[in-house]
Symmetry: C2
Amino acid sequence: MAEILASRARVHGIASFDGAVIGIVTGGHGALVREDGIDLAAALAQWREHGRFVAEDGRAPMTALEAVRGLDYDVMVELTPLGRPVRGAPAIAHVREALARRRHVVTANKAPLAWAGRELFALARANGVEFLHEATVMDGVPVFNLARHGLRGATVTRIQGILNSTTNAILSALEAGVSFEDALARAQREGYAEADPSDDLEGWDAAVKVCALANVLLDADLRPESVAREGIDGVDAARVAGVLSRDRRLKLVAEAWGRGPSVQARVGLREVPRTDPFALVEGTSSILRLVTDLAGTIVITEEHPDIRVTAYGVISDLLAIGP
Amino acid sequence: MAEILASRARVHGIASFDGAVIGIVTGGHGALVREDGIDLAAALAQWREHGRFVAEDGRAPMTALEAVRGLDYDVMVELTPLGRPVRGAPAIAHVREALARRRHVVTANKAPLAWAGRELFALARANGVEFLHEATVMDGVPVFNLARHGLRGATVTRIQGILNSTTNAILSALEAGVSFEDALARAQREGYAEADPSDDLEGWDAAVKVCALANVLLDADLRPESVAREGIDGVDAARVAGVLSRDRRLKLVAEAWGRGPSVQARVGLREVPRTDPFALVEGTSSILRLVTDLAGTIVITEEHPDIRVTAYGVISDLLAIGP
């Protein structure tokens, strides 16, 4: 993201973010804090050379929570990893603290939406600040902005998506005759599967994403633990081939339907017919179908994104908050 | 649309539009004007019974232009037919008059965007009013709102779509062995082809739509006459079968690329591979691909809309303007 932020020509509608970032605090890779503004190009160079941030002024590094509580900022950007086994810690605490201090929050971490969405939106409203989260699902594809600004007066009644790249790539590879292990190793090599891929393989990642979507688009108050969940761990070449022989493809589909307290969600293997755009989703692409009462059925596909697109999701939220 | 407007329960976020509509003026089907608000349910019943509007108070009917110039309204909703041979008349005059009077405009007619977009946006800005047009392309699917609110800081560099239902349905029917004439007759029977289908068959409808999109999303100043245009008039069963035999489908694709004054556009027959979601678009469905610099490539599909979805596009614009 710093690459994009540091380059003023790439982001239109703003002169530059230079001098606008006053703190970058990581879990295990140091921290940079300068109340008069960090030089982003220099910070990026330091990161590339050392793999960590070292404050020039010798100031003692602070923890993220200390930074959220103590620094004088307008917007807190939350970019910590998911933290699924700890139900979204520490991201939720960071967001809660910042909103309570009447600071805007932009998150690329879906945990706050999935485990505490309703609480945090209420907190943002009560404090008159924004809590934006476009990068949490489908990277920079504006699914939340589409619903917020494009579906006024309409109600989303069902959502359905292929939202996890690792499982989708493995299912495609099984169709092509590659073994589960080789397919997983390749996904890890190409950077979209984690070193510990169990959250992907067991359907947790998709469950957290469908929760995040449902808690916003269906006004639900779901938790990932209450999503009926199936992963791809038990799938083998024979099963995938059987589905193919029926001119269908096996896909891990996340779904939620209903409204408010009645919303239910599930993540499961589905045999998708070839006439459904879900059958065409490959690699890091993803797809989301929104069924609505008045605006018909809308399908949004993200085609072959790279890592920049996630960064863009955060930037688009920052631009929505404004200068 | 009156059906939806008259039913308060169907549109959330507003109590009702009852009493908010003060004039309905048609070309050849009469006019209703009541400065204290029209009873929409009664107007709808009258329309269903007589196929025209008759003012109860005996007030002389007025023309649309007289209404635009003379009535005291907040928003003018433009719903006249395209008027392609007359380059968007009379819609453009209606929009121009209303904007010059500092009234908001919502249009479902794409002509004002396609033949006078730049002029009318400048006029709206100068007069501090909104000129909204979500229903003009892909019905109520929020393609313009997506770009306006969801792609902040990103630039759309190319658009590509299947935007005309009549030609798409005829191409599908040819694949299935139906004759051109029978396929056209069916499209007319089902209501999505006009009695005079030449604007569809010759690619004009798609050219006007891609102009409307390009003039907003690519900041172009194109006119439909300058779009390189191919229709489906020359297509026969043999050609369609040949494409199918190469595992591709023949589709009428509208495209535009570039930025500002350098934008070019074309409408033409393309052999689309089966792996492209464009190959799955059937019936009244439509699809649009947006290639961007920072937000990746986003594909939006509208699946099997009915006429209500166009009405919804207008309503969503009215809700965006607010009470």
